[in-house]
């Protein structure tokens, strides 16, 4: 593991075609560059094998879920492994297919595709409890030690966002689709801003939405020009086999970062930057494919490289 070579990977290609769009939307044209500041895991070491979820805390520690060795790992700000926990199984603190990770002031919250509920760890990776939740989760957002939100995968019912307390009791719920578009078609990545507004990126539909905390849709945008994704019949269900938008996050200027999926021009590499009003500001293309993007409290962006063996941390540079 080593600190990245500070190689300025300025691939912020503000596409000429996109300028007119942003100007029409009344947005100030913006360029966003990325500069590598840290790299964890490499092809010649066994630090990471297939990382899935990432979170960082205010002290600069980086927490990573690794799907191939069923673990939760803690790294310091320089990328040195501090501690590792987990192991294969369904017992307390164990994983079968770890996926999403969130961080509050004192706790870490991890989901697992093979285990229902949300596992809670302290910052020293000691297992605390499992918050009961009976539905599969497509995204996770942590407000505080006492409150988290999850996006529920819509398989037979329309997808929804559920806010839970620390004990797993439902506090509120937002159903963002009145009618189900099909199994999994309502799956979203979700993020909330400081005002409580909700931003959704649909995984299998070309749609980004902003909702206010009262449950009113403020705007809805398409980014790729995709009408419908390919589907396949599996075990009696018609399931999507292409992705439109894979992840969504916010920086501290209120910009919305949306990762394009398999239907993007550069699959799993294009990141669309939107203004709070939904105007497309710019697009940047990552050097390697990633399954997620994560922006921390200091506006550093974390993405995947080498098929999950490497985590890259980039500084976002605005011009």
């Amino acid at each position: 593991m080593k600190i990245g070579r500070m190689a300025s990977i300025s691939i912020c290609a503000t596409m000429a075609l996109l300028y007119p769009l942003s100007i029409r939307a009344g947005e100030k044209p913006l360029k966003v560059k990325i500069q590598e500041v840290l790299s964890i895991g490499a092809l010649d070491n066994e630090t990471l094998f297939q990382w899935t979820g990432v979170a960082s805390d205010i002290e600069g520690f980086i927490y990573i879920l690794d799907g191939l060795d069923y673990s939760l790992k803690k790294f310091d700000a320089k990328g040195q492994l501090v501690k590792k926990a987990g192991g294969k199984g369904q017992g307390p603190g164990e994983f079968m297919a770890p996926r999403l990770l969130g961080c509050s002031e004192n706790f870490l919250y991890a989901t697992d595709q093979g285990i229902l509920g949300i596992s809670v760890f302290d910052k020293d990776l000691r297992f605390q409890k499992r918050i009961p939740f009976s539905m599969p989760i497509s995204d996770l957002f942590v407000f505080s030690d006492e409150r988290i939100a999850v996006a529920v995968i819509g398989f037979q019912d329309p997808g929804r966002i559920v806010v839970l307390d620390a004990g797993g009791k439902v506090q509120s719920e937002l159903v963002y689709q009145n009618k189900m578009a099909g199994p999994l078609m309502d799956s979203v990545s979700a993020i909330l801003d400081g005002q409580g507004d909700l931003y959704l990126a649909y995984v299998f539909q070309d749609k980004v939405e902003r909702w206010n905390k009262s449950g009113t849709l403020l705007w809805s945008k398409d980014l790729l020009g995709v009408k419908k994704v390919k589907t396949e019949k599996l075990s009696g269900y018609v399931l999507p086999t292409e992705t439109c938008l894979k992840d969504i996050c916010l920086d501290h200027r209120g910009h919305i970062f949306v990762l394009g999926g398999s239907r993007a021009k550069n699959p799993s590499r294009d990141v669309y930057v939107l203004s709070p009003a939904g105007g497309l500001v710019t697009t940047l293309t990552l050097p390697d494919t990633t399954h997620c993007i994560y922006i921390d409290h200091q506006d550093f962006m974390y993405v995947r490289a080498n098929d999950g063996i490497t985590l890259k941390k980039y500084r976002l540079i605005y011009e």
Binding site: D44, E46, F49, Q50, L68, D69, K88, A97, D307, I309
Partner: protein, 188 residues
């Protein structure tokens, strides 16, 4: 082909993989089955009939062609792991070998880089799942054509002197039959 750490560990225990793979390749069609079994089991056909087989005698062996894509799908990987866990470590070391098969990348340099990615992931897989048998990488894509879909087990059934192919997940009854043969010491 690259040799995994598990393989190196086993080599130290006088489990040279060449002893395994040469006869196994023979069984895949290069040599007659009987000749391959002769080499593999270090005993003659006549010996097998004349005296009871000991642990060092003729044994059923299993070559597992592991589809790398299953690494990304835990339900797909589960049947293979359940099968491995049903076999004690020494039996895994003695009777199982694995080949990790992955799809070829379009250009050579990308394929070479991807081989390193696959190899690193393989190390994680071996460690995390306590895999005790050696697994090697199909770096030259020799087995891509053979592995049409899903992970497969090629069972070198010494009792019947045939090679049998099974796909994961096994059909009802197949797993117990295979385990019975692999756990048996009497030439099965």
């Amino acid at each position: 082909m690259s040799i995994s750490r598990a393989q190196e560990r086993n080599s130290k225990r006088n489990m040279n993989p060449r002893r395994w793979f040469f006869p196994l390749f023979c069984l895949l069609g290069l040599w007659p089955v009987r000749a391959a079994l002769f080499i593999c089991c270090s005993s003659t056909a006549g010996d097998g009939a004349a005296r009871p087989s000991a642990i060092s005698g003729r044994k059923t062996l299993c070559l597992i062609l592991i589809d790398f894509d299953t690494f990304f799908c835990s339900p797909c990987l589960a049947p293979l792991l359940e099968f491995c866990q049903a076999l004690p470590g020494p039996i895994q070391e003695e009777r199982l070998r694995g080949i990790l098969v992955y799809s070829r990348r379009s250009d050579e340099s990308e394929d070479s880089r991807y081989a390193r990615i696959v190899q690193t992931k393989m190390q994680g897989f071996i460690k995390a799942n306590d895999i005790r048998f050696p697994i090697v990488l199909d770096e030259h894509h020799l087995f891509n054509g053979l592995l049409k879909s899903n992970t497969q087990a090629l069972l070198f059934d010494d009792r019947r002197q045939v090679v049998r192919k099974f796909s994961f997940p096994f059909q009802p009854g197949e797993k117990s039959d295979i385990l019975k043969l692999l756990l048996s010491n009497d030439g099965g």
